[in-house]
Every structure is written in C-alpha cells, then in structure tokens.
Amino acid sequence: MNHKTHPLEAIVAWLLALLWLAPLAYAFWSALHPAAYATSFSLSAPWTLENFARAWHQAPFARYYLNTILLVCMVLAGQLVLCTLAAYSFARFEFKGSGIAFALVLLQLMIMPDVLIVENYRVVGAFDLLDTIPAVALPYMASAFGIFLLRQTFKSIPNELVDAARVEGAGPLQILWRVYIPLARHTYVAFALVSVSYHWNNFLWPLIVTNSVESRPLTVGLAVFGAPETGVDWSIITAATVMTMAPLLIAFLLFQRQFVQSFMRAGIR
C-alpha cells in the first residue's frame, strides 16, 4: 500500500469493475424499460415497472417468495441448533470415539449433499416427504461446515470462564447457553450469512425434490417461468430475475463489509 498506484493501473482496475457490473446493470435496464428498449440503449427510453407487475401476475411469485423464506429459515434454524450441540460436544467433552465421530462428520465436507442427489431422493421419498419444503431443507441441516466452524470457535474460549460458570453451579447446557454461545457471536453471524446466501440461491436439489407451486423456491420458480418453451417476453423474464436476486442483493449492499468478512471467515476456517 506504500506504492503510489500508477494512474493507468487505476483506469484498468475501473474498467474491469465496469465490465463486472455491466451484466447486472443490463439486467436492471431491461427490467425497467419496455420490451422495445431491451437492446437499444437510449437516454430517452421511458422507465416502467410494468414488467415487474406482469411477471408478478403471470406466475405465483408471492408464493415462491414465501417458500424461499420458509426454506431459508428452516435450514438456518435447524443448522444453528444441531451444529451448536454437536460442536459443543466435540469442543468440550472427551469421550470414546470422538475422533472417529469427528472424521465421519468431516466426510460431509468432501461429499456434500449436492452430489448425492440420486440416493437422497430415495431417502426423502422413504420419509414420504417428496415435494415439501422440509425435503429441500433436511439434507443440509446437519452441516459439517457449521459444526467445524463452531467447534473451532468454542475451543478458543478460555477455560477460566467455563470454570467460573461451573463454580456457580451451571450445568453443561447452561454453560453452553451463557458462556459459549454469546462468545461465538461473530461465528454465528458469519455462518448465518453464508448459509442464507447459499440456500436462497440453491437450485439443483430443490429442482429435483419439488414439483408444485406450494413447495418450489424462487430459483426453481424462476427457471420454470423463464423456460424458453413458455414464450414469455424477455423483459418480463429479466424482471423476474431481478426479483429473485433483489432481496439478497439489497442485503449485500447494506451489509457489504459483514458479507465479505463472513465469506472470508467461512472460507478460510
């Protein structure tokens, strides 16, 4: 950072940034203008929200939104509870088989549910859950990644604090609740942001297990809506695309720093 940046380098950096923003800018342009202006860029082009209104009425996007929100909350709630308990078990207790158990958990880091689509479809079918939101959520709830991340954080919590709580007569779950969880706040925020982004955007598994308006998340709804066979206007598809990504994009713009730091923390471990 000590060097002065050459102006030419700054210009190239900015050109790349513009190039990187262009596809998104284009999506917004096309969504906010009448179909006639989808490819002709003119300053006099009239602005309109018509495309959004038509997309909203042509497909049950309200229901898709609800499904995605339910899905994301369900996954996150499940993950927070299950991963916290499991991570606490690994971080705090010395028990026989903990090494093997932890290795078996880590296996999920290499073989994520995303690639076990064939057998997981049968498992979900055996539980009679096909075409439901829990079917989309369940395979991701016991997240090895979450367990690993929380275990690391829990292990870094000083023993003195735990001993102090124990002296006051706190049991294991009280210690977890009063000492561990409050001190792992940053890890929870990082994990939650990554998890919500991932499941808001997830597509292949929901595509496989859902088959009705009542269970389909936004991404699958968008794919069904935008399929070329449907012959829907391009501008309307872009409007639907913008609707799908808008909530996450807005959250990202508002909490940019947290997002970047969370992805970094989560990725590096």
């Binding site: 940046t5 923003l21 299950l82 073989i111 292949l204 935008g226």
Partner: protein
C-alpha cells in the same frame, strides 16, 4: 428451556464421571448424527451398493457385478462429460484465479474508491447461478442477443453461440469466471492484508521495481492461498451445473454437459438409477481425492506455522 434440560443433564467435574460425560456428549451429538447418517453416510454406501445392481423388467434389483462399470467405460457420453469437466476446470480455474489475484492487489492499494471496486468485483458472488444464467442467456441469444448486436455493428452475421459445439463451452466458461473471480479475490485480499508491509518497503528501498517485488516476494508468499483457492475452484467446477439446466441442457449433443449434470439426466430424465449410482461413484472418487489433497495440504501448513 435450556435450564431444565441442563439440570436433567447436569454434569459435574469431567474426570469423576467419565461415563456420564460420554453419555452427555453423545446425546448432544445425536440429532446431527442422525441427519448426517441419513443424508450423507447411508447415501454414500447405498450409491456404491446400487452400482452393482440393475432393475429387471419387473422392477426387482438383480446383482450384476461390475456390468454397470463395464457399460460406463463403453459409454461415449460418459467420456465426453468427463472430458468436458476437465476442459471446464482448465478454462475456469487458472483465469479466475489470475483475475482474483489482480483484483485483490488493486483493492488492497490506495486506488480512489476502492470500496466501490471491491463491491463491483464481489457482487456476482451473491447472485443465484440461475439468475446469472438467465442474464447471460440473453447475451448469447442468436441475432437478437447483445453479443450478436455488437457483432452487427461491425457488419458480422449472427452466431448461435450456445447452439454451436465449438463455442458453447467457451461461453459458459466466460460466464463462470465472471461469477467466481470476485469470490476468490477475498481470500487473496485476506492473505495480502496479513503480509508485512516491511517486505514491500524493504524491496522499494533496495530499488526493486513493482513487478519484480510482486513476482519475487508477494506472489511466492501467496502460494498457500493460491493452492487453497485452486483446489476449491476445481471442486466447484464439479459441483456447478445449475446454469446448464436453463442455458443448454448439456447440449448441443452433450458439448456442454458436465458429470453431475449427466448424473441428473440419467437419474431423473432416463430414470436409470443404477447407472446414475455408478456415475455418482466416479464423482465421489474424484471429490474425495481432491478433498484429501486439500486436507493433506492444510495439515502441512499447520505444521509449518
């Protein structure tokens, strides 16, 4: 609620009641373990098991030994998608890593408005792949699409970018680079911020040029990050197939299909779950190998620290 359960599980000092400790530990682990077994361990074993069977006409599973594997080795589409996956990785990984490094170096400097730069580079990371595919689909649409409109300005005829086996993979690679480079950037950014500024200063005092300093000092110091990002990127290239569902469906004639997408097709379009299981075994072997490389490397880094 936690208090009540806490009393129920009340565990005193760890050493005096080791068996109670173990019970507590396993109870805490149980809910996660059940789901992990149901959706990871059992499916892995079932995948391997089912790859040795086929369904006969009445729908019963018949043991066929390695027949599915033999059929796979003779399946030209299998080799095609494996080959495609290889090219997809070659096409996306080095370029997005190089771009990510470049972006990180810029964002780490005193360029005016670098927060905005970082925002621009990182934004594609938070978008759903399916939305990205929708946007880029339009760029590549023949005649009417943005790319062909640009060609039109120079008097060039329209081109069916995604419909031609020669251009389809390149088009998808460009899109994925755009989607992923900003994500890899943040790992380099983290690494760069941990490098001591003294090194660069010392190099500057010695009269070393910027490029020389980067090539001989910064880049070698970033090597662990590069390896880490590279392995992750290759793993990603085997998991990323969302875009194929709406852009090409693997076509034309499987020119853009990837292994996971082929598994999806075989299982859910052709309804051949035995063969899909066989293909999944190959994918599992590839992913485990990559993951072991990653863990092996991570272990080494821990030792050296």
């Amino acid at each position: 609620m936690p208090d009540q359960v806490g009393k129920f599980l009340a565990a005193p000092m760890p050493r005096s009641h080791t068996w109670l400790n173990s019970v507590n530990a396993w109870l805490l682990l149980l809910p996660a373990a059940l789901l992990l077994v149901a959706f990871t361990h059992y499916p892995v074993i079932a995948t391997i098991y089912h790859s040795f069977f086929i369904a006969n006409r009445s729908g019963n599973a018949v043991f066929v030994g390695l027949d599915n594997y033999r059929a796979m080795l003779e399946d030209s589409i299998f080799w095609k998608v494996l080959f495609n996956n290889f090219w997809f990785a070659i096409g996306t990984v080095p370029t997005s890593i190089a771009l990510a490094l470049l972006m990180a170096v810029w964002v780490n400097r005193n360029i005016r408005g670098r927060a905005l730069l970082r925002l621009a580079y990182f934004t594609p990371t938070v978008l759903p792949m399916i939305a990205v595919a929708n946007i880029w689909l339009f760029f590549y649409t023949p005649d009417y699409g943005l790319l062909d409109q640009l060609r039109g300005i120079f008097g060039l005829p329209g081109w069916n970018w995604l419909g031609d086996p020669r251009t389809v993979m390149g088009c998808l690679i460009v899109m994925v680079i755009w989607k992923e480079a900003g994500f890899f950037m943040i790992f380099y950014l983290a690494a760069l911020q941990q490098l001591s500024p003294d090194l660069e200063e010392a190099a500057a005092v010695e009269g070393a040029g910027r490029w020389y300093t980067f090539r001989r000092i910064t880049f070698p110091l970033l090597m662990p990050t590069t390896l880490f990002v590279a392995i992750n990127a290759v793993i990603n290239s085997f998991k990323l197939v969302d875009h194929l569902v709406i852009m090409t469906k693997g076509g034309p004639s499987n020119a853009s299909s990837l292994l996971l997408y082929y598994i999806y097709e075989v299982a859910f379009t052709f309804q051949d779950s035995a063969y899909a299981a066989t293909l999944t075994v190959v994918l599992l072997i590839i992913l485990s190998t990559l993951a072991l490389m990653k863990f092996g490397y991570l272990d080494r880094r821990v030792h050296y620290q």
